[in-house]
């Protein structure tokens, strides 16, 4: 019996070594979990740097953003629903920015799944997107986040001790800026 099971065990071990990392990335990070390691370039635009509370050049990770809560939107300039929802997501940014109680606590960024810098630029210009957008031309971040379809929203809560966790995520179904903001404030304990 053992002689039969050994090849299987070896195969299983080999397969799991190759496949499990892919499997892990094939599932989006769940509520209660942390983000995968995502390195983003510090924006060149000083206003965007200031918005995110970052300085210098090089790379940063999302938990380094100066905020209590960060909303991450996965979008694509090629995605019709992202296009349709873009004005509503801009409105969310404006609602946050004009509310002094949450202005410095809640930040919003977008990641363009499979979009080159040029393509992200087209999207930003077309919809006059006021918050920082980051290209992910080779789908690296997209893969690390379970290859979610777009638009996909993740709400990330930053804890006092420097840890962070995802407190909400959803695929599409954008409910409008006001309702989404209320949900964000509720799940991140800012209300």
């Amino acid at each position: 019996m053992k002689s039969i099971s050994i090849p299987f065990a070896v195969t299983a071990l080999l397969i799991s070594t190759i496949v499990l990392p892919a499997l892990a990335a094939n599932k989006p990070p769940q509520k209660g979990e942390g983000l995968p390691v995502i390195n983003l370039p510090v924006p060149k635009d000083p206003e965007e740097r200031n918005y995110l509370g970052l300085s210098g050049i090089g790379l940063f990770k999302i938990p380094q953003i100066k905020a209590k809560t960060v909303i991450v939107e996965f979008f694509s300039m090629y995605c019709p629903i992202c296009q349709k929802d873009a004005p509503g997501v801009n409105e969310l940014y404006r609602l946050i920015e004009k509310n002094p109680d949450i202005k410095n606590k809640v930040k919003l960024i977008g990641i363009g799944a499979g979009n080159s810098p040029y393509e992200v630029g087209v999207y930003k210009k077309t919809y006059d997107v006021p918050f920082p957008l980051f290209p992910d031309k080779d789908f690296e971040i997209h893969q690390a986040c379970g290859e979610v379809r777009t638009p996909y929203y993740m709400v990330v809560k930053m804890n006092e001790d420097g840890t962070h966790q995802i407190v909400h995520s959803q695929l599409g179904d954008y409910p409008g800026a006001e309702k989404f903001l209320e949900l964000i404030l509720n799940v991140s304990g800012l209300k």
Partner: protein
């Protein structure tokens, strides 16, 4: 007996693990960037041979003329733009497939860039009109004509040398200037979306 069962169980587990693992490789690349707009309506084609045809035209050739029916009803000929507009011909392989469904909606928000280069976009597939109608409806209102190269099947794609052996076209871009001359050809890996900047770079050169 118990040991037998345990081995069987382990075999089953291993099989499931292998099958599950393989399915990740087959399906995952196709999910790339797919918009939620189409929900469950996209047929997963798997990874295909990148290019499966031989071009029959080259840059600097006169572009072969054609007349095709568009989704909106009228017939569109390439020659009607002669002397008036640069033309971008965008062949995509098939409606309701992963990468194609995420290509034209991007062009749809780039109308001003096409206009800047005095260019019109013509989208072409080998699908029939009703299929193209249902599919492009999911993309919102498109500003450019979508043409059906359905019958004689794929005749235009074949004339340009971008008809694959299974009857769908390549994912191919042709830039044709106002004189009707082909100035740029990108027969792209069918599994990938051509970056917009490459096409715009080609249009920039027409200036």
């Amino acid at each position: 007996m118990q040991e037998d069962l345990a081995v069987q169980e382990r075999k089953l587990r291993n099989l499931i693990l292998i099958a599950g693992g393989l399915s990740v490789f087959v399906l995952a690349p196709m999910a790339f960037g797919l918009s939620e707009a189409y929900r469950g309506n996209i047929y997963q084609v798997g990874v295909l041979k990148p290019i499966d045809s031989v071009l029959r035209v080259k840059a600097s050739d006169r572009a072969p003329d054609f007349t095709l029916s568009s989704v909106s009803g009228e017939k569109v000929s390439l020659s009607q733009f002669r002397g008036k507009k640069n033309v971008v011909l965008s062949f995509v392989p098939a409606a309701w497939t992963p990468v194609c469904s995420d290509q034209w909606p991007g062009y749809n928000i780039a109308k001003d860039i096409f206009s800047r280069y005095d260019a019109i976009l013509l989208g072409v597939t080998v699908d029939n009109i009703p299929t193209l109608f249902a599919w492009t409806n999911q993309m919102g209102q498109l500003w450019f004509p979508v043409l059906s190269d359905f019958w004689p099947h794929g005749a235009v794609a074949k004339r340009y040398g971008v008809l694959r052996s299974n009857g769908v076209s390549e994912r191919a871009l042709f830039v044709i200037d106002k004189a009707g001359i082909i100035r740029y050809i990108d027969v792209h890996d069918i599994n990938k979306r051509p970056p917009l900047e490459d096409l715009m770079g080609a249009l920039e050169k027409l200036k």
